[in-house]
């Protein structure tokens, strides 16, 4: 809502407050003022001049030679504007003036003729193009005849006005009117309010009811409709002051009738509509719901398809307006209009909102109906408009208003007590502090012992309960007076849950392991949303979740894996010559078990990593190690070692992954993730080189993780190590053999590690040698050589039997 400072002065005394100070006060006490703008930069020496004579320039067809009276003197001015003419009152910039556009006015000779100034257009006076009425957009501005010669143009055109841009939120529709803002400003400044003149001297010789009848078929959507009749109007420009205020409010003046309805709309917050009475098509207004297949042409010359949910104004035969939204083209006020049918009505917010949503037509009028108008201002706004039409359009206002009125105009009352106000605010206000705020807001109240019964004016639709009054009290009294306290009373030990702590622990580990955390979008494209699934998700039962109306294809579906968006991060960095990258992310994936989603999807927390380029790079010592499978796996192993959980890795094949370089990660025999190289073709699609990834479903980890590890005593007796190298077939996984050794050697064998893998020269074709180191230990005694030997032989025998291997000599 744009609020003209000069207009507001008509209702509240602003003598002691500048526009900037006012903006600050309004912001602090109610509505955020987003900015203060002056209509035009300050200019001096531009005054109203009277064009005494206007002749063609002797040597130039397009120039005019004018003699202009500016009060103290008469100036000869050469003017190029086509619309300049004798007898006009115009804006004259005298020599020495600097125009807002930087142009300096000097005495000059134009084609041999002296010119002592310039006749200005509104643009040249610094007014923004968008405010300028279309009828004066071309050429110089011509003042009404009553403009006094010599008057500074600045104030006559309201160019010194400041406009406050109020950000009115949904709770304060009252502030979508000058009067609403005035009530608030009066309360803030503790000043009285001056209401506009609503006196109307109707022409008793004509009766409205002789001209029009009103019938409402849809009373719930239209509980009040008032029809006024104004005859013999003269369509012409509205008075300058009104045009000025409209321009300052961001509304382009059109003609007196339209301008007056817009002026009252802004002043009262009540939309009005003026029909051309003679083109209305009947003598009765019938308000009803639209019909299927009914159409009408709106003011913007668009044909609108109607239905039963649209409230329409009809002439008894066909629709003439979309109620509260837009009028029809056929009954529009034109330059030829002489008789007016003026509508002042109350339309239900939801009904108007529906039509707005359906048609996409949002206007100053519909916005106000959608948010709610003051039921007690509807008729008054009509009367106000009639009195202005009488005054500025020369109209004869027919006596009486033809109306159907079932509108609830009663005021709500809210009971408060000072002690309850203090209890909620944490303050110690006196009753007088509270009641004086109510008085400043012009809320009537009565007292009943401790209780204060507040009558809430109908303009304040937002106030219905105690807390609403509480807000009024503190915002006008001032938030700065609130003390600073901390909640007293109930206490709990704050903190993180085990699962939250574990997430932080995983971040600690991965960060220390050299990975950088990313944060990517949950929404990705349809294809990528269902790739790289962890093994706990089964094909067919893990469906993606798509948006009903995505903004773009790139962000249309919720992800089932973190990897695709992380690959996109790698792609972004690689394209910027950052080639050695190691990233991790913890975030949710969204799994719908239904193909057509009806209930909330499962949300599982995942951790994922993506690595590419060099893992280690120390050039001058010729040490370079690119990321490989075992780097990625090592990070995963370290993670689980850190969490004190045993996982196993099993060779697996996954779509989008390298067929020979991918392992499923199993916890307690259940697949919970994978680690491996992404398929070179996928890497190519993402413009990245050899890339390794891992992804783990953390929900499975959370379910088995012990927050407090139990204590194990540090061994006191020495351990014994024995090495064995087995010659194995190439396709026997070393890890499986390792597991068998550990199982067979238990309980004496505590650890089994692999310290050498050899293939190639001196080795039989298709075979490999894998060397294991076994660590024997008993926590309660020193082991004897022969029991270690027995256990060792058992391991050798078991492995050789199971894998067809033999011990390398």
């Amino acid at each position: 809502m744009l609020v003209s400072y000069n207009w507001l002065r008509n209702y509240v005394n602003l003598d002691h407050v500048t526009p900037e100070e006012l903006a600050e006060k309004i912001t602090r006490s109610g509505i955020e003022v987003e900015g203060v703008e002056y209509l035009a930069p300050a200019v001096e020496n531009i005054v109203v001049g009277y064009v005494k004579s206007c002749e063609k320039h002797p040597d130039a067809d397009k120039l005019n030679l004018c003699q202009v009276d500016v009060g103290e003197e008469s100036l000869q001015i050469v003017c190029g504007a086509p619309n300049v003419g004798e007898g006009q009152k115009v804006a004259v910039a005298k020599p020495g003036t600097k125009l807002p556009n930087g142009m300096k006015i000097k005495k000059v000779k134009l084609r041999g003729v002296e010119s002592n100034g310039m006749i200005c257009s509104l643009q040249e006076l610094g007014l923004d193009e968008k405010y300028i009425p279309t009828d004066v957009a071309e050429g110089i501005f011509v003042f009404p005849e009553d403009a006094e010669v010599g008057t500074p143009v600045q104030e006559l055109l309201n160019l010194d006005d400041a406009v406050l841009d109020l950000d009115v939120l949904a709770n304060r529709p009252d502030a979508l009117s000058m009067l609403g803002v005035a009530y608030d400003v009066a309360a803030v400044l503790d000043q009285p309010i001056h209401l506009p003149d609503e006196n109307l001297n109707a022409d008793e010789s004509i009766q409205a009811e002789d001209y029009i009848d009103v019938k409402i078929d849809s009373i719930e959507n239209n509980p009040y409709y008032g029809a006024f009749v104004i005859r013999d109007v003269e369509i012409k420009p509205a008075p300058l002051w009104m045009r000025n205020y409209l321009m300052a409010s961001g509304i382009r003046p059109i003609n007196n009738v339209v301008d007056i309805t817009n002026f009252v709309l802004l002043e009262y917050g009540q939309p009005l509509h003026a029909f051309d009475y003679d083109r209305f098509g009947s003598k009765e207004v019938v308000i009803r719901q639209g019909k299927e297949n009914e159409t009408m042409i709106t003011l913007d010359d668009q044909e609108r398809q109607l239905n039963e949910k649209n409230l329409v104004i009809t002439n008894g035969k066909e629709p003439v307006a979309l109620a509260g939204v837009m009028g029809g083209a056929d009954s529009e006020v034109t330059d030829e209009t002489t008789n007016i049918l003026l509508e002042a009505a109350y339309f239900d917010a939801a009904s108007v909102r529906h039509t707005v949503k359906q048609t996409g037509l949002r206007s100053e009028s519909s916005t106000r109906f959608e948010k709610g108008v003051d039921p007690n201002r509807v008729k008054r706004a009509g009367i106000r408009a009639c009195s202005l039409l009488q005054k500025y359009a020369g109209g004869k206002v027919a006596a009486g208003v033809v109306e159907v009125d079932e509108l609830d105009k009663s005021e709500k009352s809210v009971t408060i007590t000072t002690s309850k106000v203090n209890q909620r605010l944490g303050m110690e206000l006196d009753e007088k502090d509270v009641t004086s705020v109510l008085a400043r807001l012009q809320f009537e109240f009565s007292k009943n012992g401790e209780e204060i019964v507040v009558q809430v004016p109908t303009r304040r639709l937002d106030i219905s309960i105690f807390e609403d009054i509480l807000e009024e009290v503190i915002r006008i009294y001032g938030y700065d007076h609130l003390p600073y306290t901390i909640p007293q009373g109930w206490v709990q030990a704050g903190g993180l849950t085990d699962v939250q702590l574990l997430q932080r622990e995983i971040k600690n580990y991965l960060s220390s392991a050299g990975l950088m955390e990313t944060l990517t979008y949950s929404l990705t494209n349809k294809q990528d949303a269902s790739r790289f699934l962890t093994p706990d998700m089964e094909e067919g039962t893990a469906n993606t979740v798509g948006l009903a109306m995505p903004m773009s294809e790139e962000h249309s579906h919720l992800r089932l894996s973190l990897i695709p968006e992380m690959l996109r991060v790698l792609q972004h960095n690689v394209a910027r010559t950052q080639t050695d990258l190691a990233y991790y992310e913890i975030g949710k994936v969204f799994i719908s078990e239904e193909e057509q989603i009806t209930k909330q999807p499962i949300e599982n927390l995942h951790v994922a990593g993506a690595l590419t380029g060099l893992w280690h790079n120390h050039p001058w010592q010729q040490e370079k190690k690119p990321v490989d499978f075992y780097v990625a796996k090592g990070i995963v192993e370290g993670l689980f070692a850190h969490l004190e959980l045993d996982v196993t890795f099993v060779q697996t094949k996954m779509e989008d992954m390298h067929p020979g370089r991918c392992a499923e990660i199993r916890l307690n025999g259940k697949g919970i993730g994978y680690v491996g190289q992404i398929h070179p073709l996928v890497a190519k699609d993402f413009d990245v080189k050899e890339t390794y990834v891992f992804e783990i479903n953390l929900e499975s980890v959370f379910s088995v993780h012990q927050a407090t590890p139990s204590f194990t005593d540090i061994p006191r007796y020495p351990s014994v190590t024995r090495d064995i190298a087995f010659i194995l077939d190439n396709d026997v996984p070393a890890g499986e053999v390792q597991a068998v050794i550990k199982e067979t050697g238990a309980p004496l064998v505590k650890e089994v590690s692999i310290f050498d893998v050899y293939q190639g020269e001196h080795m039989e074709e298709g075979k490999k040698s894998v060397a294991y180191r076994l660590l024997y230990q008993d926590p309660s005694r020193t082991l004897k050589d022969d029991e270690v030997e027995t256990s060792y032989q058992a391991v050798v025998e078991k492995v050789n039997n199971q894998f067809g291997s033999y011990v390398r000599s």
Binding site: T27, S29, E32, L169, A170, N171, R172, A350, R353, K371, Q423, L425, G426, M427, I465, E467, L470, E471, I474, R475, Y479, D480, Y484, I486, P487, G489, Q492, G494, L496, T497, Q500, K507, S511, S512, G514, L515, M516, E517, T518, L519, Y521, S522, L523, G546, L547, A548, M549, P550, M551, V569, N573, R576, Q578, K588, I597, T598, Q600, P601, E603, W615
Partner: protein, 344 residues
């Protein structure tokens, strides 16, 4: 004899002093202390001495032996030290060459900010609650006093999945779920951080996905002053102890009264600059007293219980605190951006 011994001592000490290498020192040892050495030779004449002289000369001889031994040892140590020093000198390296690089990882700036805020409130006794990112219309809107067709719903453009399912536009549904779970039976002190989604076109100040953190306190006798004091603690911790806060009226459907909190501008110290749009204040977060309808809907008797709630965008806090000028940096994950905040 006494004179002979003293002469040997003097000669030996002088000779040892002059020895240039360990071989020479070894020779000295043989020459003076060996079986055929001069000291031994002299001592052989001990038999000729009187009973009274013997212990005196014996003691003197021991002293001489000790003195020569000490001198030999000292010389040996000195020579060894010299040899070692010489060797170490040859082992000198160029310490200005770069060291073996260690991969440095780290948290995302938003994680650091989130954990900082979490820890601040944990310290004041808050628990950390989380909830689903795909929410129902009921918890995201209706439970928060935003019935269907409420005009304030237009304040947030929502990503709908079905008529009833949506991506949450705020973390407030976690508050609604927590209140509902406690059914008016106990006080609440909680914060809820998390991702939220809105139909905004991504630009320097908008992101279709961002992170919020909200707080909720419900108890008997919670006041608006409690909210102001709590937010003041928060602002001073996040932005510096010299910062001041102010509250302004605002509107949120789930709080009444509702406020907006500004922090005095750090750049200009409240005098006005381009960062604070010449107001001296920067808008940080919104909050207010929990609307009685919201309390009642979750089983809290609003005549007994009152509460406050507040919420903020984590990106906004991070941008203000670290001077980040484009929200998209958080989601592009350029390594040159992320690595600037290793220790944030």
């Amino acid at each position: 004899m006494k004179e002979e011994l003293q002469a040997i001592e003097q000669e030996a000490l002088a000779a040892i002093e002059k020895a240039e290498n360990s071989q020479a020192v070894q020779e000295m040892k043989v020459k003076y202390l060996g079986k055929k050495g001069s000291l031994t030779t002299v001592l052989r004449g001990m038999g000729k001495l009187s009973k009274e002289e013997r212990p005196v000369i014996g003691e003197l001889a021991n002293n001489v032996r000790e003195s020569i031994t000490e001198a030999l040892e000292a010389k040996t140590e000195k020579l060894e030290r010299e040899a070692l020093n010489e060797q170490l000198e040859t082992e000198t390296i160029d310490v200005t060459l770069p060291g073996n690089p260690v991969h440095v990882g780290g948290r995302h700036l938003l994680t650091s900010i989130m954990e900082e805020i979490e820890d601040l409130f944990i310290g004041m006794g808050y628990e950390v609650k989380e909830g689903p990112e795909v929410e129902t219309d009921y918890y995201n809107f209706e439970k928060l006093n935003l019935p269907k067709n409420h005009p304030a719903r237009d304040m947030q453009d929502t990503f709908f999945i079905t008529n009833e399912l949506l991506l949450r536009t705020q973390t407030s549904p976690v508050q609604a779920r927590t209140m509902e779970a406690y059914q008016g039976k106990r006080p609440i002190k909680m914060i809820c951080p998390g991702k939220v989604y809105r139909r905004d076109t991504d630009d320097a100040t908008h992101s279709h996905q961002f992170r919020q953190i909200e707080g909720l306190v419900v108890d008997k006798n919670i006041t608006l002053s409690d909210l102001k004091g709590t937010l003041d603690v928060f602002a001073k911790k996040m932005f510096g102890k010299d910062r001041e806060i102010r509250l302004r009226p605002s509107f949120f459907p789930f709080t009444e009264p509702s406020v907006e909190m500004d922090v005095s501008c750090k750049v200009c110290n409240g005098k006005g600059c381009s960062v604070c749009k010449h107001t001296g204040w920067i808008e940080i977060l919104g909050g207010g007293m929990v609307h009685p309808r919201v309390l009642e809907m979750s089983g809290y008797d609003s005549t007994v219980y009152s509460g406050f709630a507040f919420g903020m965008g984590q990106e906004r806090i991070a941008m203000l605190k670290y001077g980040v000028n484009d929200i998209r940096h958080f989601y592009t994950n350029d390594v040159r951006f992320l690595s600037q905040y290793h220790q944030a």
